[in-house]
């Protein structure tokens, strides 16, 4: 139990681990999916899986926004970045995501004006400062990030900024979960719900999981103790034959979410009929575009983007990793051809990606275990 001393309350961590042991049926194998990449990161960093009984398996979910961007969207971004006079802005995590031939970082080296920003509001400021240039923001993220883009666009509209636009790649968390629950090759027993997404959407969107699929969901914080506690709550529900949405992270997540965020999202975005997810294929009504009221800020309309569908590289098994079908180290190129420095797949690029998290922390934990 080498990691427990790093917890906010080490004794409590140990106590929860012991309680977990008493809740499990030794004849049963449990698969619990942590939906959010932030949880995956904590799990590997703190060796949480080492504290669990052998028959409780944590399965990593699709909740890393960088990981699910398909190559065709990266290619579209790069094509826009190469337009004359364009300043292309994106989060730092996007810079090394492979498109079919290049990354945005490589496009920058080839002369495109690609700039990393901390916030979409930084992109907006760059647009204000460069009235004779077209400034494009490559928006990515789940519901945690989408309100930021929406509020930025509202401000752009209020200011009448004509040289600002946005490639909208925002995705929503519920449709891929439904797709996973429908998938025959994966039997999941419960879900650790994504804490930060829930600050925006609240608990309500997750009720379909117990209602339609009879599985528990526990919305969880990000500290190791939070995650352990959430696993305990899931196992308790399973043992008691219950399935409901519980909120372990109530100190931050209100059950109803953030109404203001939901309202601006509804104003600025509309659902796309389909969107491609890396490794998961097309999922209907799983992503957002700009609403008609904001069409003038839509970079896909302003620049004719190629929008070509590109198949994932053959060696890449990100889809299976994102669905939790295989563990990162089971991918054939893991740690050899695919490393954070030279990633083949997206799960290795973002620190929240399961492959990167495992590469950075997990393998050391395993090595330590071996000695």
């Amino acid at each position: 139990m080498k990691y427990v001393d790093e917890y906010r309350d080490a004794q409590l961590g140990q106590a929860v681990a012991t309680q977990i042991l008493s809740e499990v049926d030794p004849d049963r194998h449990y698969k619990v999916m942590e939906v959010c990449g932030g949880h995956t990161h904590s799990i590997y960093k703190y060796g949480i899986d080492d504290l669990l009984p052998a028959n409780v398996e944590l399965v990593h979910g699709p909740g890393c926004p960088v990981c699910v961007i398909p190559m065709g969207r990266v290619d579209d971004g790069i094509a826009i970045a190469h337009h004359d006079g364009v300043i292309f802005t994106c989060f730092g995590d996007m810079m090394r995501v492979p498109g079919s031939e290049h990354t945005l970082l490589e496009a920058k080296a080839q002369g495109a004006d690609v700039r990393m920003v901390y916030s979409p509001l930084d992109a907006l400021r760059i647009a204000r400062e460069n009235p004779d240039r077209e400034v494009v923001f490559f928006a990515i993220g789940f519901e945690t990030t989408a309100p930021s883009t929406a509020l930025t666009l509202k401000r752009a509209k209020a200011e009448g900024l004509r040289n600002f636009s946005c490639v909208c790649n925002h995705v929503t968390i519920v449709p891929p979960l439904r797709a996973l629950l429908e998938s025959p090759d994966l039997r999941l027993d419960g879900f650790i719900g994504p804490g930060h997404v829930c600050t925006v959407v609240g608990a309500r969107p997750f009720h379909f999981i117990p209602a339609d699929y009879g599985r528990p969901v526990v919305i969880s914080g990000f500290e190791p103790l939070d995650i352990l506690q959430s696993i305990l709550m899931i196992l308790r529900q399973l043992r008691g034959g219950r399935h409901e949405v519980e909120n372990q992270y109530r100190r931050v997540v209100p059950d109803e979410g953030n109404l203001r965020a939901l309202q601006v999202m509804a104003e600025v975005f509309a659902l796309r009929p389909h969107f491609e997810w890396r490794g998961l294929g097309f999922i209907s009504q799983s992503a957002l575009r700009l609403s008609d009221a904001y069409a003038e800020f839509d970079a896909e309309q302003r620049f004719a983007t190629p929008s070509v569908r590109v198949a994932d590289p053959k060696a890449c098994q990100c889809g299976e990793v994102l669905k939790g079908v295989i563990k990162p180290w089971e991918c054939k190129v893991f740690g050899t051809a695919c490393t954070p420095e030279h990633a083949i797949g997206t799960c290795m690029v973002s620190p929240e990606g399961a492959c990167a998290a495992y590469y950075n922390f997990g393998r050391y934990a395993r090595q330590r275990e071996a000695v």
Binding site: E6, R8, G37, G38, H41, S42, K45, C64, P65, V66, F91, G92, D93, M116, V117, Y118, S119, P120, L121, D122, R125, R128, I140, G141, T144, T145, P147, S148, L151, R155, H196, T199, V200, F222, E223, R251, V252, V253, P254, N258, L259, R260, A261, S350, P351, E352
Partner: protein, 92 residues
């Protein structure tokens, strides 16, 4: 970009656009706090907030803020990177 970092509100610098100056482990930058304006509530100096890509996502209490910062600091490189990006940010 996936991290949410706690910071403390120093002052509201632009009421109309809901821009506030916050302190994140000694780094002072502007962020947007309009998501906190539900139910007649709003960001006030001294409040601790969780910040994600330049926007306050929610208020947290001080103990929660310190515990989260502690957790982030132990994350190492990813947290350092996020702070560097925050430092480069100029929101008006």
């Amino acid at each position: 970009m996936c991290l949410a970092i706690p910071g403390q509100v120093i002052e509201l610098v632009d009421e109309a656009n809901q821009i506030a100056k916050v302190d994140v482990v000694g780094v002072r930058r502007n962020i947007n706090v309009s998501l906190l304006t539900t139910d007649g509530d709003r960001a006030r100096p001294g409040d601790w907030v969780l910040i994600h890509v330049g926007f306050a996502l929610s208020k947290v209490d001080e103990e929660e803020a310190h515990a989260t910062l502690d957790l982030l600091q132990r994350m190492g490189a990813d947290y350092e990177q996020e702070l560097e990006e925050l430092k480069a940010s100029v929101i008006e």
